[in-house]
């Protein structure tokens, strides 16, 4: 939704457009564009022969979409719901806008229904809400990293999703989680290695103290992250009473690469291992995800 080219980069393909590109067998990718979405909408629903003449006015329309509450959002979310309704795909994964914006996006049909009293758009908000609020068809996956602000924002987002929209949070994915290095006994040994620094230096060279520093740094980072994940878990547990358990799926930090198709395939493998394969691919489903 927030086209900065990150998705194209992830699949290592050229610029993505509103027209879907098949990036792998059975996998298509597109970039949302409000203006194209509007054109398609007019072609499909308004059916008046004006499309050619709208060209010079597209910019004006963009301004309206900018200024009128919910219009831009509904053009985006409407396109997604339309694809779900038409059953054009088995699964639609939405790389949603940053956490502050996703609530207004998913909530757009409701805002429109409240603000617009008559007109085609209003008439069409109900079927969108039916799709968005059906936990069998739409789930929101919140992605986060084990750091202070992302975890705090995710907790807030989960609360707002429940309060302000009817959408169903189905999972939290904690990305870039550092692995546990030591058992408790080993941890105690690690914490005392400084006492044996001389021996280590004589055995493995002068660089040993930097090597120990590196391990200590990584360990401190992991510990801080683990505390934030505990906080996340605690607040998910308190939400669980009202809406069933929201699982946390963790994806470990990948040191070798930070972006591109290689990372995508490694992360996909890890997710496949963590996810219950039977829960994948119901007949139709749209999934929104936050974009950490």
């Amino acid at each position: 939704m927030d086209a900065k080219g990150a998705l194209a980069n992830a699949f290592d393909v050229g610029e993505l457009t509103f027209e879907p590109t098949e990036v792998a067998p059975g996998l298509s990718a597109m970039a949302m564009n409000t203006e194209d979405s509007l054109r398609e909408y007019l072609r499909l629903f308004v059916r008046i022969p004006l499309i050619g003449r709208i060209g010079p006015l597209a910019k004006t329309f963009d301004f309206v979409a900018d200024a009128a509450p919910g219009v831009k959002e509904i053009l985006g979310v409407g396109k997604l719901c339309y694809e779900v309704r038409e059953r054009n795909y088995d699964l639609i994964v939405v790389d949603a806008e940053a956490s502050g914006h996703i609530v207004s996006q998913i909530g757009a049909p409701k805002v429109i229904a409240d603000l617009v009293q008559v007109g085609l758009v209003r008439d069409q908000t109900q079927w969108m809400l039916d799709i968005l609020n059906d936990p069998l068809r739409t789930g929101v996956v919140v992605a986060t990293t084990p750091e202070e602000m992302p975890v705090t924002e995710s907790i807030e987002l989960l609360g707002r999703l429940t309060e302000e929209t009817g959408a169903y949070p189905s999972a939290v994915i904690a990305n870039r989680v550092l692995p546990v290095l030591f058992s408790r006994d080993e941890q105690r040994i690690f914490d005392r290695l400084d006492e044996a620094l001389e021996i280590l230096v004589s055995g493995a060279g002068e660089g040993m103290s930097a090597v120990l520093d590196a391990a200590r740094l990584a360990e401190a980072r992991r510990r801080t992250g683990a505390q934030h994940l505990d906080r996340l878990r605690a607040s998910l547990d308190s939400m669980a009473r009202t809406q069933g358990a929201i699982p946390i799926i963790t994806v470990p930090e990948l040191f070798s690469r930070s972006s591109g198709p290689r990372v995508v395939s490694l992360v996909a493998d890890m997710l496949a291992e963590e996810l219950d394969p039977t829960s994948l691919l119901p007949s139709e489903r749209s999934t929104a995800s936050d974009d950490e």
Partner: protein, 386 residues
């Protein structure tokens, strides 16, 4: 004086920019402390949405647009020696907009109609980069009071780093836009404007004429404030290129934030805006990328299984050499991962260094920073880089 001290001494406004999640607010607060450490002055940090614990450390529990002073006792308790005063204010977008409307409304009737309009809140919260513009407005106001020697703005997180730079001109553009003119042409004559006829028909069909009319009513009111808004936006825009203003771009050395920082820095240079410094936050120590450490890590992997683990176990006492061996192997393997990241960071740092007169690295510290003492440590890194 260090280079960074010089920058703070020669400027009256510092805009702290960068992508979200890089510690921008924390760095902005640390810059404020650094400035107050350097000389006896009044420094203000204007922030947008601080992490809660940081906010409470700064005494920002309930403040709005009005600045509050950080209790000097908080500094002395934390062992931070400031010579000046540090003030903080938290941007309240809604209050800021209300204030703008009050200032620019030609009369009480327009003012009250706008403030009571149901579209007003919805529109101001998502419209023409509202947050960015309001941050700049506040900066303008606070600087104009003459109450502060230095105002530091922690710019709002945005989808696009440029939106802070473009916010004032977008505001001017909006008031001169076809949309506003079109929306505010009386309903009847709109039907007769040939150019807008097809557009109007479509818009009417899709959005409903009632909604369009609501929007139009609102913008008619809004247009009454045009001249005031435009003049202000121009003044605010001028601040961006003012010689007393400088940008500090904050980033981590990860891929995406670095790319954003590089882009932002290049844009600043292109627009003749002053880029004072790039601050690389949460950086791994550079020596981790060094050859000596790598050699030791490789050696450790080879000798861990032998006598070394045994002597370490003996030295520590009450532990088995097998356990020590496992720990040492983990340490050695762990090193490769960290060193790889450190090497990548070092590359990115040199790329960024070519763009700004000052590039500073703030080392990664364990835990998050949410007290005055932690901010004092950061201020030290800014003023006396390693």
């Amino acid at each position: 004086m260090s280079e960074f001290d010089n920058l703070l001494a020669s400027r009256e406004m510092i805009l702290v920019a960068g992508s979200g999640g890089v510690g921008k607010t924390t760095i902005a607060a640390a810059i404020g402390i650094a400035a107050a450490e350097r000389q006896k002055s009044r420094v203000l940090v204007l922030t947008v949405d601080p992490a809660r614990r940081l906010a409470s450390a700064l005494g920002l529990e309930e403040v709005g647009n009005a600045p509050v002073q950080i209790d000097p006792a908080a500094f002395s308790e934390a062992g931070v020696k400031v010579r000046g005063e540090v003030w903080v204010a938290m941007l309240d977008t809604k209050a800021g907009w209300d204030e703008l409307i009050r200032r620019h409304a030609p009369d009480a009737a327009v003012r009250d109609s706008v403030l009571a309009n149901p579209l007003y809140e919805n529109i101001t919260s998502r419209f023409v980069h509202s947050h960015e513009y309001l941050a700049m407005e506040q900066l303008h106001d606070l600087h104009a009071t003459g109450d502060f020697d230095l105002v530091i703005v922690d710019t709002p997180p945005s989808r696009n780093a440029l939106s802070i730079l473009d916010a004032p001109s977008r505001m001017v553009e909006f008031f001169g836009s076809r949309l506003l003119r079109w929306l505010t042409v009386p309903y009847r004559s709109r039907l007769f404007t040939v150019a807008s006829k097809p557009f109007y028909q479509v818009a009417d069909r899709v959005l409903g004429s009632r909604f369009l009319q609501d929007i139009a009513d609102f913008f008619v009111l809004f247009q009454a404030m045009e001249s005031g808004f435009v003049r202000r936006a121009r003044e605010v825009e001028a601040l961006l290129v003012d010689p007393r203003t400088s940008f500090v771009v904050v980033t981590t050395l990860e891929t995406a934030p670095s790319r954003e920082a590089r882009f932002l820095s290049q844009q600043l240079l292109e627009r003749d805006m002053s880029l004072g410094a790039i601050v690389a936050n949460r950086v791994l120590p550079e020596e981790l990328a060094g050859a000596e450490a790598a050699k030791s890590a490789a050696a450790l992997l080879e000798v861990a299984a032998g006598d070394l683990s045994e002597s370490v176990a003996k030295k520590l006492g009450k532990v088995s050499s097998q356990q020590v061996e496992r720990v040492l192997i983990q340490v050695a393997e762990q090193f490769d991962d960290v060193a790889l990241v450190a090497a990548r960071e070092s590359d990115r740092r040199s790329e960024l260094a070519s763009l700004a007169p000052i590039t500073l690295s703030i080392p990664w510290v364990s835990g998050d920073i949410h007290d005055v003492a932690g901010l004092g440590v950061l201020a030290g890194h800014l003023r006396n880089p390693a």
